[in-house]
Symmetry: C2
Subunit: 545 residues, 2 copies
């Protein structure tokens, strides 16, 4: 029994608390999606009773609800972390989740990486993607100078967004350009495709050739500029957030228009998009005084965006790929000689996919200790069986997967013996020398750091399942390996009929028996198994929220 | 000379007026993009002088600017249409540009079309796409029941948006679903992918099989529901527009989160997105009183969305493809027997591409009279030449195109003789009987309805160019067709040296000579030419804004 939390549960907003009930009636355990309608919760819902309980070994609070009698169990850690009035969520799409910068802030800390290392090292990849979210960009160096390669770069973190310029577009001087980008003139800091809604939220520019005099690139942090405008001229800031501006584009195949403010804020007033493109603003239709106010503010912001201290200059050389947040950073280029060779290839993608890729990469980081275990201590002998501990567990996981088992059981099979190797493999030897190391319990407890009971409980019960099967299934005992037969006695021996009945009545008995069978089968010295990394997506999906 | 407009130009907001200067120094004539920086316009800009002028035959106002002396010519029609204080632009992405509906409003006027007719008839296609913008959806019937066909439907109006569910997703009962969509349970009205930002703005659902008992579809106009909430409970409406809500999704390969209000408004307070998905709302972090206010408003809106009078019920049968605005319409489905066969394929796309396709289709409508001319009167004889008038003009256009001419000259070559067929082909016969029909002038004037001077002036001068070339180019006259030689005299004969000098000094002389040469070459009875429709994209791009 754990103590109740320090704050009274009864004071929490009832609908909010009930909407967050984690039970499997309220949420689909696979997808986490809610299974009830918010409108179908009873009127007059209230907390009838509160009790301190244990939930998978952690202190929790059980709430009984009036009038429907439903029970919800909230881990105390969750209640503490989500207590109303706690720190606000730092929405990463708004200025609250960014590091705003002027050019000199980035001296010596440009977010750059070598392409091959970016591909090879998940941790580096995560740092670079984090830079795109935090600073608004990254530069990858040494990206193969192949046509179309920029699409491969996009696929490392998301999905290409096709537009009227194609999946991929070439930035070079063209004979009959439909866009100034395809000429040699200078282009001041701007948002791309401002006339699209949704605007592409990421842009990639991959340099294939840059022999031109000029043609350098520049980046301006539009969020920093907007914040500066808010400080220096709050009225202009206000006008720009309140005035939808028509952005227009028209050529043979497309006719686009988006009416959006130059500075877009979220409902809490935080900057969340800057859309600035001097070239594409159409004709505003407003009363004369509103037009005057808008143009004054627009000019003030335009001048601010051209301050040299805001502009980070960089020259893309062949092999460089610049990836930037098109809702935040404005990009520019200097003019170049019309006959100078300069060729970039670009494409668009979206921030949501990039943020998702980053979150999934971070889950893999979380599982690093398990990966180490499979690569290190787990590769040594396993209780005198003809396979290593790691081979044994990988086989068990692979067999569960091949049998079409749900992810939590594949995970349980894959990880059922981590209790043997929790520190090193010695605990396994201890078992063989006649002392029960209670590895199913230590394993389940260790796994509780990452996974919920749907994974930990079959692990906890997989030794008991052997004792159970020996009691109820003729022939089962005889099929066990010699080592398994030996440890049976150390682990408590064949269950009595009463013990077997109690075991069979447990909610998790069937899962534990299933894991046990894959365990028993997974001792083939010739079996080819996938590496631990194969299971990472499945494991990461099961990580506790 | 035309009169000045009824309102004083000097009272117009100067920066706004100057920013809209249409001259070729201020705007790229090809792309329409602005060539100056808003910040580089001089401080203290003012109108120094105003004069009434003619611009390509239409009344216009010429403004001379202080202090830089720049001159801008604004057609009076443009000034009248864009006069400040005129009607506000009805942004088609907000409720201002929609027809809000309850189910019964659509009785007898469901936006449905047969797939083959939709493909064959541009006007029908335009009406259907207009329905998606105005009502929020369309249903295409008889779409081939092939896997992957839904992607072809999307490509008729835009680009597929790939997500973590793939380019294409299957909606059917799955053994280990990561989303309730892939089960047989009922799903209440919701937005898809609310945890994406940008959210996919269009969804397509193509029915391949629906033998299940149940599994019917429902649509609710979220904008109409939001407007209803604003009337019935303005405070709840306010709360829902002001509260960012976390929408979350998590599975093996993705971890998505978007913080957006359930009802999003533009800076003028107009509803522009409804994002409602009961299943995917994560844990809100707000002070307790804000949580209570939010949950009360959320429940009120949820209940409102389930009112039967708002819900349009429809059953998708094999071959049906439903296309709807995912930022506005909420979609639902009834439960069905788990073993009932039901299989939809879906994909996402975006509204901006659809609106662009519609705008370009409408341009083609605009050009319908020209298409009729090429199909009708133009197919009859041409001045005794061995080709029809239409063949002659198509040949001229094709030759200009093959020569790599810029679009305005391809258009001028293609349309240079429309003056002969303006009403019917009789004017051509008149010319051959010795009366100059001045077809170059009547043609140029007629084309002025659609095109600017870059197209109309080479047409106007193409007869003069013949008289000019006869004067200055040895051998030119001899190469002319007999008919052309005959009409030369009727049209004024070979230019005198003084006339030729004046002609050569005209700004459009070179373009007119180029068109003339394609004209002279375009009399080959065996030439194979593309149809008029081939030139539609090029022509539509040249249409006056």
């Amino acid at each position: 029994m754990s103590p109740l939390p320090a704050f009274p549960i009864g004071d929490l907003p009832v609908m909010w608390l009930r909407d967050n009930c984690p039970c499997t009636q309220c949420r689909d355990p696979r997808s986490g999606q809610k299974l009830f309608q918010i409108g179908s919760l009873p009127d007059g819902l209230r907390v009838a009773a509160v009790a301190a309980v244990d939930s998978a070994g952690a202190p929790a609070v059980e709430v009984t609800w009036d009038p429907d009698g439903h029970r919800s169990t909230y881990p105390q850690a969750w209640l503490e972390a989500h207590r109303p009035g706690g720190p606000e969520h730092r929405d990463r799409r708004t200025e609250a989740g960014k590091e705003l910068w002027a050019a000199r802030d980035l001296t010596g800390r440009m977010p750059t990486a070598d392409w091959d290392e970016y591909l090879a090292e998940p941790a580096l990849r995560a740092r670079m993607l984090e830079s795109v979210l935090r600073l608004g960009f990254m530069v990858l160096r040494g990206v193969p100078e192949r046509e179309g390669q920029v699409l491969d770069v996009a696929e490392t973190f998301g999905y290409v967004r096709e537009t009227n310029y194609g999946k991929l577009f070439d930035v070079r001087v063209e004979p009959d350009p439909n866009n100034l980008a395809f000429t040699s003139v200078a282009i001041t800091p701007h948002t791309d495709n401002p006339y699209r809604d949704p605007v592409p939220t990421l842009q990639l520019l991959h340099c294939l050739v840059n022999d031109a005099d000029g043609g350098d690139s520049g980046l301006v942090d539009g969020f920093a500029a907007a914040a500066l405008l808010r400080r220096e001229d709050p009225e202009a800031f206000e006008v720009l957030t309140r005035t939808p501006v028509p952005f227009v584009f028209r050529d043979a195949g497309a006719e686009l228009r988006a009416d959006r403010p130059l500075i877009d804020t979220d409902p809490l007033g935080r900057v969340r998009e800057v859309r600035f493109n001097n070239r594409s603003i159409g004709t505003l239709r407003l009363p004369a005084d509103a037009l005057e106010a808008f143009y004054a503010a627009y000019r003030t912001f335009a001048e601010l965006l051209e301050r040299s201290e805001l502009r980070l200059d960089l020259r893309l050389v062949p092999g460089d790929c610049l990836v930037f947040d098109n809702t935040r950073l404005l990009h520019a280029r200097t003019a170049f000689a019309k006959d100078g060779a300069r060729h970039l290839q670009g494409c668009y993608a979206d921030l949501d996919g990039l943020a998702s890729t980053l979150a999934v990469l971070r889950r893999a980081d979380t599982l690093e200790p398990l990966a180490q275990l499979f690569a290190g201590a787990g590769t040594t002998e396993y209780l005198g069986e003809p396979v290593s501990m790691a081979q044994h567990m990988l086989q068990a996981g692979a067999r569960a997967e091949a049998a079409g088992a749900p992810p939590h059981l594949v995970a349980a099979a894959l990880l059922h013996d981590v209790g043997h190797v929790e520190d090193d493999v010695v605990t396994g030897r201890e078992l063989m020398s006649g002392n029960d190391n209670r590895h199913s319990h230590t394993g389940a407890d260790a796994l509780g750091r990452w996974f919920g009971p749907e994974v930990t409980e079959p692990v906890r019960l997989h030794v008991a399942a052997k004792r159970y099967l020996c009691a109820v299934e003729p022939g089962y005992h005889d099929r066990l390996s010699e080592a398994s037969k030996y440890t049976l006695a150390v682990q408590g021996g064949v269950m009595t009929p009463a013990q077997a009945d109690r075991f069979a009545a447990l909610a998790g008995a069937a899962d534990a028996v299933a894991v046990r069978r894959w365990d028993d089968e997974a001792k083939d010295p010739d079996a080819v198994t996938p590496p631990f990394e194969h299971f990472l997506p499945l494991l990461t999906a099961l990580l506790r929220g």
